[in-house]
Symmetry: C2
Subunit: 349 residues, 2 copies
Amino acid sequence: MAVTLKDIAAEAGVSLMTVSNVVNGKQARVSAATRERILRIVKDRGYVPSASARSLAAKSSRLVGLLVPAEDRTSLTISPHTVEAIGTLERELRQLDYHLMLRGIAHRAEITEALRSWQLDGAVLLGFNDPEIDRLTAGVVGDVALVAMDSYSENPLALGVRSDDFGGAEQAVSHLVALGHRRIAFAGPAFSATGVVRQRFEGYRTVLEANGIAFDQSLVADVETTHAGGLAYGRRLTRERPDVTAVFTTADILAIGLIEGLAAEGRSVPGDVSVIGYDDSDLAVYVTPKLTTVAQDLPDKAAETVRLIMDRLAGKARPEHHTTLGVRLIERGTAAPPARQGGGAAGTA
Amino acid sequence: MAVTLKDIAAEAGVSLMTVSNVVNGKQARVSAATRERILRIVKDRGYVPSASARSLAAKSSRLVGLLVPAEDRTSLTISPHTVEAIGTLERELRQLDYHLMLRGIAHRAEITEALRSWQLDGAVLLGFNDPEIDRLTAGVVGDVALVAMDSYSENPLALGVRSDDFGGAEQAVSHLVALGHRRIAFAGPAFSATGVVRQRFEGYRTVLEANGIAFDQSLVADVETTHAGGLAYGRRLTRERPDVTAVFTTADILAIGLIEGLAAEGRSVPGDVSVIGYDDSDLAVYVTPKLTTVAQDLPDKAAETVRLIMDRLAGKARPEHHTTLGVRLIERGTAAPPARQGGGAAGTA
DNA sequence: CTGAAAGCGCTTACAG
DNA sequence: CTGAAAGCGCTTACAG
C-alpha cells in the first residue's frame, strides 16, 4: 500500500500527531528541527495524505462541487460561456488546495446526495434558473457554502454572483438608440418574473421608455438560445416585421444564427438590420462581420464565486447582497445607423 | 450530524453489517423482509452513505479523475472540442454511480498526488501529448485504470482511445485531390514522431504519394491551433505561396482563422482556395461558407473511454491494442474544384 | 513542544 | 441469514 502517516512517524521517531501537524503546516506546535526532518522524510517517501481519511476525521473535505443541471440520460449541457467559468473555477480552487467535483443534477434530491455523500465544503450552482434555486431548502442543501452563478434568487441559502444584466442591456439598447434606431426587437429565451433574461429585458424596456419609444410587446421574441433558434427567428422577423431595424439578443450564439437567418432572406447586417449579441464569446470574432456584443468577465465571475465560498468557509458572515460584476459593450461590426432601414437588401445596395 | 448506518441499524433493530449489505445491494445475504424494512427506513430518514468512509474502508472510491494539463497559475485550457467530451464523460460515469473529479495538472507529480490522495479508481488523461504519456511510470500512476484520450503512446500504463486520425486525413486530402487540387498545404501545430497531428500528417502524405503528387516540405506549415494562428497563416500563405489551391488543417478553429486571413488578402474560399477543417465543432456551421471538415464522434469516444475504465476495474485484462473510432468527412461549403487557382481574387471574379 | 486515546462512518474477513 | 471485531488513515480534543 501507499505510505501513511504512521510510516512517516515511525521513520522519524515521533508520534502520528506530530507528523500530522507538520504536514498541515501547524508550525507553532512543532520545533523547526523536527519539522525539517519530517518534511524530508515525507518528501523522500513520497507521502500523499489520504483525502478520504482526512474528510472523515475532520469536518472539512476540501472539496467543492460544481453542480450543473442535466437531464437524466443526457450529457451536461455546458454552454460555451460556462466552459470558461469551469476552467477558472478549477484553477482558483486548485491554488487554494481544494478540489472540484463535477456533477450533473437530474433531480433535486441529487443535490443533497452530492453534498452529503462527499461532505462537500461548498458548491457552485451553474445554470440553474431562479425558481429552482428559490426552491432549495436547508433540508436539501444543509449549511454548505453555496453560490449560485447568474442567479437573482433571494434565497439566502445560495449566495448569488452575476454580472450586471440590467446594465448590459441598457448599454446595448442605448447604443442602438443613439445610432438612430426606433424599432428595436428583443430576442431571448422565455423568462419568468426573475432571472438573468428578465433583467436584460427590463434594461431593454427601461431604455426604450427613457427615450420616448413606445414599448411594443410584439417585438419581444421568445427564441431558444441556439444557432437554430436564432436562424428561424431571423427568417420569421424578416417576413413578419420587416420594419424592425435592430435586434438586441441575449446570447452571441443566438445573434449569429439570427444574422444567418436574416442573410437567408436577403437582409444584411448591419446594413439592413443591426444586431447586438451577449457574452462576447470567442465566436463573436469568428464571424463576419464581427459581432457587437456585451462582454462579461467570466474569469472574474468565477474568481468571485470562489472567494465567496472561501469567505463562508472561513466563517465570515453571509454578505447582505448578491455580488454584481460590471459588463461593457464591445462595439464591433454588427451595429450601425439604420441607413437603409425597412425592405429587403436585394435592391437597395 | 447526518444520519449514519448506525442510526439506521438501531432503528431497524439489526446490525450495521446488515444495513451495509442492503444498501450495497448484496441481496443474497439478507432476507427479503428485512431488506424492505431497512430500505424503508433508509428512505424515510434520508440516509446518504458517506463516500469518504466508504473509500477509506473499501478498496474503491467510485471516483474517476479527469486530468487536464494546466499551467501553474493558469486556467485549464478546455478546447471546445474537449468540452463535449467532459459532459459525456460525466453522464456515463454518473449512470454507473461514479463521480468525476476535474483536476488541472501543472507538474507531473500532481498526477500521483491526485490519484493517491483521493484514491481514484481510474482517471482519464485529456489533452496530454504522447511524450508526456510515454514518461508515465508505475511510480507515478500506480495501477489505476488509466485511459488517455487521443493518445498514440505505446505506454501500457495508459490505454489509448482516439479516432482514426490517419484515416480522417486520408479522407480529407483524397477529397481535395479528387476535386482536382495538386498543391495542397498541411496546416497544424508542430508535431513529433507520434501523436494525433503526426498521424494526420502521415495520412496527408500518403494520399499525395498515392496520387503521384510530390511531397513538398515547404507546404507543411507549423500553425498554432487558434483563430489568430490560422489568420496569420492565411496572410502568409497568400504572400508566400499564392500557387497553393487547397489547405488541409488539423482543427476547425484554425481553418476558420485561415479563411479570414485569406479573405483579408482578397482571396475567397472556396473560389480561390479550398479549406478543410477537423473536428466538426459547432463552429463549423456558424461561419459562412460552412466548413467542410472531418467529424469525429466525441460522445462515442467518451463512452468508449468510460467503458475501458470500467472493464479494467472489473478486472478484465488490458486490451491488446488502443481503441480507434471511425471518422467521416462532412462536405459543406469550403472545398471546391480549383477553378480559379493561383493569383489573388481581386481581378478574377 | 509532543503524545496516547478516541472516533469519523464505513467494509472486510471471519464466526456462528 | 446475521453479527461482533478489527481496521481503513487521518484529526480532534485533552494531557503532560
